[in-house]
Subunit: 457 residues, 2 copies
């Protein structure tokens, strides 16, 4: 930790507000990896957390300045709704997210037109609003930890008003090298990198994203900024507590009954284009087709929950996911056996129950900043289940050596890898599972926080 006061700045914060029946503001604790990881560490410390006001109640809370809520010292940042929507939907989610994950269908998208330029201006404005709010709220000499792609431009704007504070930026996504970054307009790529390097240091989950960032800075700016690598990790106590909860235990009992002595392949993901859900179903279908011994003897549980349904690509993707699951069940299901269990209910205890029970965990993203599910599975699984992991996940850097490699585009190869994982000897399963558990247990969210604070020195 540090002697200096801490300010965390993120798009989504640890609490949200609503009005109760008496018209009084009531705080509610939020979810998400950042909050569950950092929450226990910062409560009771000299830490202020700023995040965007998402609702009218949040906006009323924003007008009160820094307040105490749910044990946190928080400040909602009030941003006008339409610029915020453009910055969030058009720039962060539809442009930067797609650029960083290499997901554009380039003959058709992106298209940077005049309306997109207005959205870029809105992104600048929202970043300026955040910088102003931090400048107003930050204690003297604070370390300001700016999170993720929504807020890449905060550093330089903050520096102008508050040269006493030290801002560190952390990217939870992948980062592209010069070839992929060059889909952005030239001036935008430059402004983005100037924004990021305008922080004291920029952090990434793996050396691969750091190297790509450094190469992009060299290519576009002709110089590097300061960068560092620090992988976020799951809190073992936290995830084990969920696994031991009555809700997760009940879900586990249901799952055990459903499965009997069948093998269980699981995945837990947002319904997100980068997660590669469709090829996962195709690989499972190919497993049944080309490795017939698994017919009737394996269940594929996809615990996947809707995400960003305001974007048409995501709505369409969800429908494709549902169709893919239905088609497999239509072709293969029998009176006793349903091969695919598709659960889109976003029930965290149930997802954790699946992580305790899997024989094989499929994590096959086409690109992924880190992937905490691979780590959570390593902590709570009690069957020495095998991790089938794509090298495009940031977690590969830590867990690749104790995983079965699956190439995200190689459907037939993934099917063969699933077969290999399902038939792995119990000695090998145990050795891999123990190695993974040791790797994941060796780090905690506190390490990640400490490394950001260290980067501020």
């Amino acid at each position: 930790m540090t002697e200096r006061p801490i300010v965390i700045v993120s798009n989504r914060g640890p609490v949200s507000f609503r009005w109760d029946d008496q018209g009084e503001l009531v705080a509610r604790r939020g979810a998400g990896g950042l909050v569950s990881g950092l929450g226990p560490l910062v409560i009771g410390t000299d830490t202020t957390w700023l995040a965007a006001a998402m609702s009218e109640a949040d906006r009323e809370a924003a007008s009160a300045g820094v307040i105490e809520a749910e044990g946190f010292r928080v400040q909602a940042v009030s941003v006008p709704a339409e610029p915020y929507r453009m910055a969030y939907d058009v720039i962060a989610n539809s442009t930067l997210w797609f650029t960083y994950h290499g997901m554009f269908d380039r003959p058709l998208r992106p298209r940077f037109d005049r309306r997109w330029r207005e959205a870029w201006q809105a992104y600048r404005d929202v970043n300026q609003d955040f910088a102003d709010a931090v400048a107003d709220a930050a204690p003297a000499d604070a370390v300001v930890l700016v999170q993720d792609l929504h807020l890449a431009l905060v550093g330089p704007a903050l520096e102008r008003r508050r040269p006493d504070v030290t801002a560190v930026h952390f990217s939870h996504t992948p980062f592209p090298g010069p070839d992929d970054l060059s889909v952005l307009p030239d001036d935008v790529a430059e402004e983005l990198l100037l924004g990021m390097t305008g922080h004291h240091a920029c952090g990434f989950h793996t050396a691969r994203w750091q190297a790509a960032f450094d190469a992009s800075c060299e290519a576009v700016l002709g110089r590097r900024g300061r960068s560092f690598v620090s992988a976020l990790s799951s809190d073992p106590d936290d995830i084990e507590a969920v696994a031991a909860s009555p809700a997760a235990q009940a879900a586990r009992a249901d799952l055990d009954e459903l499965l009997g002595d069948r093998a269980f392949i699981a995945r837990v993901d947002r319904i997100e284009l980068s997660k590669n859900l469709l090829r996962g179903f195709e690989a499972f279908a190919d497993l049944l087709d080309h490795h017939p011994r698994w017919r009737g003897n394996v269940v594929f549980g996809a615990f996947v929950y809707p995400s960003r349904e305001g974007l048409p690509e995501y709505l369409a993707y969800r429908q494709q996911v549902e169709t893919a699951a239905e088609e497999i069940n239509r072709r293969w299901a029998t009176a006793e056996w349903t091969p695919v269990l598709l659960d889109t209910s976003d029930d965290f205890p149930r997802s954790v129950a699946a992580l305790t029970r899997y024989d094989v965990l499929l994590v096959n993203p086409i690109r992924d900043g880190l992937n905490l599910v691979a780590k959570e599975g390593a902590l709570v699984n009690d069957r020495d289940g095998v991790l089938c992991l794509s090298p495009e996940a940031g977690a590969w850097a830590e867990l690749g050596e104790a995983s079965v490699r699956v190439h995200p585009y190689d459907v037939a190869g993934t099917a063969d890898a699933l077969d290999g994982a399902l038939t792995m000897s119990s000695d090998d399963r145990r050795a891999q599972a123990e190695a993974r558990r040791a790797i994941v247990s060796a780090r905690s969210p506190a390490d990640w926080l400490d490394e950001q604070l260290a980067a501020a020195r």
Copy 2:
């Protein structure tokens, strides 16, 4: 040149065959940049040209071995139809082409399934058939010039049978670095690079593709092969002869009458996803919308001809192109003025006439191995027309310094660049046009051939 006999190996050859009314085989000279560039150089020299038999008549010619036709010494390589189709459509055009141009919509494609694996086997077989045909036909101590992505595996297969010959591979496409190459299955990427590095040397149009190839070899094979850079160039005499032909002169007269004193933006391309035709129309629409002085005063001539319509993406793209052109005309056309002239007739003299007449030539690909049109325009244009060029075209390495840069995804920026090009001072236009002409005139197809032969030493 060289003292050694030359063998050229390419998918499409300099002549094709048909049967005449008497059932006799008749040769016909083919078209395409490779043939028009190399043809005049190799006729009458000790050069044998092998290419795939595309028709039943070609297959009959193939059975005759090496024959003289249209001044060439040719051999058609007979490849079974279905493996050839799979190697050509599925591997060369739908997999390697898309990989090399970064054109996959990655959340959905590619998907490497068992059928794709059969196509990869067909690609291997076709390459083996070519290697066998070369091994049978090549004179002792020949230099074998293997062309392009259809034939990446010829070198090692040829080496086994004919260690006396020296095979050089040349890529007419871009080449991807490790990040983009990694969409291919691991074993396929390795086999591909082993195939290419199994030639004595591998050539590329620009240092950028060479560097990407070297980096991919390092990443996948742990070592580099020999590589070289040699940009193909247009033959000034050849293209100037076309421009002076009666057909081109008549087309030019028609164009002059149509245009009157209006400015003329032209593009000449295959209807190909990498050429970025749609954003070209959008940029022109934006030019009319945001730079109103051009309404009624500029015509955009798109001389674009159908390509690969056996692939559904290309058929759909052609329809989108036609719709985009129609929409602009529906919105802006007047009794006296049609803003977009869409010509899909594949009439080479007419395209060359457009190149003589443009005020601005738009070459805005999302990625392109070289782009000969940019060079041909530099040679025949007689109005000091401006080149608006994407840095993603290989020709950028030579012509970038004498062009206006257009970012392929920045539609608004491209519109502003077109406006800037149309309003450039005549001194600047002349200076850029003369610089381009000097650069392009300094090289000829003979240089390119010589550099491949030099790479064999």
